[in-house]
C-alpha cells in the first residue's frame, strides 16, 4: 500500500524540483505551483509538465514505454512528446483529453482542467522540446460547404455519423462534433487521436479542411425544415416518437370514438 504511494510522492517531488508544489490542487488531480506568473511562459509549462505529465510521458517528453506506477498510483506510460509539437498538446489539453486518469481508458473525458494561460504555457514548453507541427489556423469556408459535406461523407461519416452526431466503432466511442472549435477540428484531423486515422495534407488539403470544418460547424444547426428535428439521427428517434407519442394518440382516438353510451 505505502510503497507505490511513497515512490509517487518522491518522484513528483524530484521532478518538481525546487518549485513549491501544492498537492492539494484546486481541481481534482491537477498539480500546480502555489503562485503562477501572470503571463503564459515556458517556465510555467515546465513546472506543470513535471507535476502532471512527466509520470506518463517521461522527463522532458522522452516517453515511458512500460507501465510503471505514476502519480497518485496511476500506472504511468505514454508516448514520447518530443515531436508532437504545439498542435497535439493544444488539441489534447483544450479537448480535456490529458492528463489521462488511466492509461487503459480511451482519452476523451472532455474535462478541461487547465486554464488558458496554463495550456499556452504547456504548449510552449512541449513545443520547445523538439520540432513538431505548429497550431493550425483554419478559416472555415462556408462557400464550399458542399465540398465539405462530400469530403465529410468520404472520410468521416463512417465513424462520426452523417450529421456529426457520433456513435460507436469497435473499441471506441466516437464523439459528436457540434461544440468543437475550428482549430481543434483541424488538429484532430492532422493528429488522428486514438482510433481515428490521421489525415495528411495530401489526403486532405488545408483548403479541403476549411470546407470540412464549415460543414461540421453547420451541423450544430442543420437544416431542420419539416419540423422538430428529433436528434438528426434517423430511424431510432423516429421509432421512439412513433411508439411513445404516435401510439398513445392513436389509442386515445380509438377510445374517444368508442366511449360507451350509458344506456344499460
Amino acid at each position: 500500500m505505502i510503497g507505490p504511494r511513497l515512490t509517487a510522492v518522491i518522484i513528483v517531488a524530484l521532478l518538481a524540483g525546487p518549485t513549491a508544489v501544492a498537492l492539494a490542487a484546486t481541481q481534482v488531480g491537477i498539480v500546480r505551483p502555489t503562485s503562477e506568473p501572470a503571463r503564459p511562459s515556458a517556465a510555467l509549462g515546465a513546472q506543470l509538465y513535471a507535476g502532471n505529465c512527466a509520470s506518463c510521458h517521461g522527463i522532458a517528453g522522452a516517453g515511458i514505454s512500460a507501465a510503471r506506477p505514476g502519480a497518485g498510483a496511476v500506472p504511468g506510460a505514454g508516448p514520447p512528446l518530443r515531436r508532437v509539437g504545439a498542435l497535439a498538446v493544444d488539441f489534447y489539453l483544450r479537448r480535456g483529453y490529458m492528463p489521462l486518469s488511466s492509461i487503459h481508458d480511451e482519452p476523451g473525458d472532455q474535462r478541461v482542467l487547465f486554464s488558458d494561460k496554463e495550456i499556452r504555457s504547456l504548449v510552449a514548453y512541449v513545443a520547445g522540446l523538439g520540432r513538431g507541427p505548429a497550431i493550425p489556423h483554419p478559416v472555415p469556408d462556408p462557400a464550399n460547404i458542399s465540398d465539405g459535406f462530400s469530403l465529410f461523407t468520404d472520410h468521416c461519416s463512417g465513424c462520426h455519423q452523417l450529421v456529426g452526431r457520433g456513435g460507436f466503432v469497435t473499441g471506441a466511442k466516437v464523439p459528436p462534433l457540434q461544440s468543437i472549435a475550428p482549430t481543434q477540428i483541424a488538429e484532430a484531423v492532422r493528429i488522428g487521436p486514438y482510433l481515428m486515422p490521421r489525415f495528411s495534407r495530401t489526403q486532405i488539403s488545408d483548403r479541403q479542411l476549411n470546407a470540412i470544418i464549415a460543414y461540421v460547424q453547420s451541423t450544430s444547426h442543420p437544416d431542420n425544415r419539416g419540423g422538430w428535428g428529433i436528434g438528426n439521427l434517423g430511424p431510432i428517434p423516429e421509432g421512439l416518437v412513433a411508439w411513445w407519442i404516435g401510439a398513445p394518440l392513436l389509442v386515445l382516438s380509438a377510445r374517444a370514438v368508442s366511449r360507451r353510451r350509458r344506456s344499460g
Partner: protein
C-alpha cells in the same frame, strides 16, 4: 313555386336521392345484403378499433403515395445537383434521389406529404402490431377465425416488405446501406440465394439500373394490390364470422352479440376515427421531421455512415444480425449457409411462422376445438398470455440490441458488455416472464373466483333480507297458526 309542389315533383321524378337503398336495390337487388350490412353489430370496446386504425393509415398511405408518385423518378442515372440546398450543390447523385430531394425542398406541400407518408408507414405498422397483440391476448384468433388471423399475419409480412421498399427507393445514403444489407441477407439463403439475388438485382450489388424500376413497381403496384386484396379478404371474413366480443354484460353469450349496429351507430364513429387518424398522421407529417434525406446525402457504394438503421419495424432484424454469434455452415470449401441467414432470414421466418401457426399450436396444447365468439381476458388463458408476453419480450430484446451502439453512446455501457448481457438476457428474461405472468394470471383468476363467490353470497343475502315482508310474516305466522 310552392314548397309542397317541389316535393311532389321530386317524388315523381323518383331520382332515388331521398331513398338510396331503394335506388341501389332497384338496380342491383342488393337490399338484403345492405340490410344485413347495416345491422352488423360492432363491439363497443375501443381495442376492437385498432385494426380499423391500421386500415385508415393504409388509406392515408395510398393517398399520399399517389402524390409522391407524381414526382418520383425510379432511375439511378447520375447527374449533378444544382438545386437550392447548398450543402449538396455540385454533388453527383441519382435521378431517384434528386427527384425526392426536389420534391422535399422545392415542390409545394411535397415535404408535408412525404413526411406524412413516412409517418403513416411507421404508424401503420404500430397499429398492426397493437391490433395483433389485442387479437392474440384475447384469443380472438380461435375457431372459427383462424383464416382471418393468418391473413393478418401475411399482411404484416407484406407491410414490412412494402415499408422497406419505400425506404429503399429514395436512394439516399441510409437507404443504400439498407439495400446492401438486404442483398447480403438474400445472398445468404442456402443454394437459391445467389441466383435469386442475381435475378432481382440483375447484377451483383448495387445491381443494374432496372433494379430500381423493379422495386418501384413492387412498391407502388404489386404490394399495395396484394395488401388491398388481403384487406378485402380480411374484412369479408370478419363480416362473415363477426367480431368477437368481451363478456361485458350478461346479455353477451357465445351465440348472442351485443353492440352498435353499423348504421346508424357505428358509421359516425368510424368516420370520426378515420378523420382523427388522418389528422394525427398529417400533424406528424407537418410538425415532426422524419428521414431528412438532404442531411444524409446521396448513396454511392463506397460510402457509409455510422449508426445507419432501418425504420423501426425492421430494427429487430438488425438486432438479430448483430446478436448472432459468427458462424457459417460449410461443406468442404462451400459455404452452405452464410451467417446473415440466421438473423436476417431464419429469425423473421420463425417469428412470422410461429405467429401464423399459433391457432394450431395452441389447439395442440389445449385440445380446445370449440367455436369461440367471446374474447377472453388475458388472465383467463394463463398459458397463452404467458407465452405471448415471453415471445414478444424475446423479439423486443433482440430489437433493442439493434440500437446497442446508441445505448453505448447514451448510457456508456460498452458494446461488448451489452452483447454479453443480451445474449443471455434474450433467453433468461422471457423465461422468467413466462413463469411470472402465468402465476399472476392464475392469481388474478383465483381472486376473481373468490370475488364471484362473495358477490353471489351477498346477492343471496340481499335477496334473503329483501324477500317481501309478507313472506316473512307468513313464515313467522305459520307456527302460531
Amino acid at each position: 313555386m310552392g314548397g309542397a309542389g317541389a316535393a311532389d315533383v321530386s317524388r315523381q321524378r323518383h331520382d332515388g336521392l331521398e331513398d338510396p337503398v331503394r335506388f341501389i336495390d332497384e338496380r342491383a337487388s342488393a337490399a338484403p345484403l345492405m340490410r344485413k350490412a347495416m345491422r352488423y353489430l360492432f363491439p363497443d370496446h375501443w381495442s376492437f378499433l385498432l385494426g380499423e386504425i391500421a386500415l385508415y393509415a393504409f388509406i392515408v398511405l395510398v393517398v399520399t403515395g399517389v402524390y409522391l408518385a407524381l414526382f418520383y423518378v425510379p432511375s439511378t442515372a447520375q447527374s449533378v445537383y444544382n438545386g437550392t440546398y447548398a450543402p449538396l450543390r455540385g454533388t453527383m447523385m441519382s435521378d431517384a434521389y434528386k427527384s425526392v430531394l426536389q420534391l422535399s425542398l422545392e415542390h409545394k406541400a411535397g415535404l408535408l406529404l412525404r413526411q406524412t407518408h413516412h409517418w403513416a408507414a411507421d404508424l401503420f405498422l404500430v397499429a398492426i402490431v397493437m391490433h395483433l397483440m389485442r387479437v392474440f391476448f384475447t384469443g380472438a384468433f380461435r375457431r372459427p377465425r383462424e383464416l382471418t388471423w393468418i391473413i393478418g399475419v401475411t399482411m404484416l409480412g407484406a407491410a414490412l416488405l412494402e415499408g422497406f421498399l419505400g425506404y429503399s427507393l429514395v436512394d439516399d445514403l441510409l437507404s443504400g446501406m439498407g439495400i446492401a444489407i438486404a442483398y447480403g441477407v438474400g445472398l445468404s439463403l442456402p443454394i437459391i440465394g445467389g441466383p435469386l439475388m442475381l435475378a432481382i438485382f440483375g447484377a451483383p450489388f448495387p445491381g443494374k439500373p432496372e433494379f430500381f424500376g423493379r422495386m418501384y413497381i413492387a412498391h407502388v403496384f404489386l404490394l399495395p394490390a396484394v395488401l388491398a386484396a388481403l384487406i378485402g379478404a380480411h374484412l369479408a371474413l370478419i363480416a362473415a364470422r363477426h367480431h368477437t366480443q368481451f363478456r361485458e354484460s350478461k346479455r353477451t353469450t357465445n351465440t348472442r352479440m351485443v353492440g352498435a349496429p353499423l348504421f346508424p351507430a357505428q358509421v359516425p364513429r368510424s368516420m370520426g376515427l378515420m378523420f382523427l387518424v388522418a389528422g394525427i398522421l398529417f400533424l406528424f407529417g407537418g410538425l415532426v421531421q422524419i428521414n431528412p434525406i438532404w442531411q444524409w446525402g446521396p448513396f454511392h457504394p463506397y460510402l457509409g455512415e455510422n449508426g445507419a438503421q432501418p425504420d423501426w419495424y425492421l430494427g429487430w432484424l438488425i438486432g438479430a444480425l448483430r446478436l448472432t454469434p459468427s458462424f457459417d455452415v460449410t461443406v468442404g470449401h462451400y459455404t452452405l449457409i452464410p451467417n446473415p441467414f440466421w438473423g436476417g432470414a431464419l429469425f423473421p421466418l420463425i417469428v412470422l411462422g410461429v405467429l401464423a401457426g399459433w391457432p394450431f399450436i395452441e389447439r395442440r396444447f389445449s385440445g380446445d376445438r370449440a367455436v369461440h365468439n367471446i374474447a377472453e381476458r388475458p388472465r383467463d388463458a394463463p398459458n397463452r398470455t404467458a407465452f405471448g408476453v415471453a415471445f414478444l419480450t424475446w423479439v423486443f430484446l433482440i430489437f433493442a440490441f439493434g440500437a446497442a451502439d446508441r445505448i453505448f453512446v447514451l448510457a456508456g455501457l460498452s458494446y461488448d458488455t451489452q452483447l454479453y448481457i443480451f445474449r443471455i438476457g434474450i433467453w433468461v428474461v422471457p423465461l422468467a416472464l413466462f413463469v411470472l405472468v402465468r402465476r399472476v394470471c392464475r392469481q388474478l383468476q383465483a381472486a376473481d373466483a373468490v370475488q364471484a363467490i362473495q358477490e353471489q353470497a351477498e346477492e343471496e343475502a340481499e335477496q334473503e333480507t329483501q324477500r317481501p315482508q309478507p313472506v316473512l310474516r307468513s313464515t313467522r305466522s305459520e307456527p302460531t297458526a
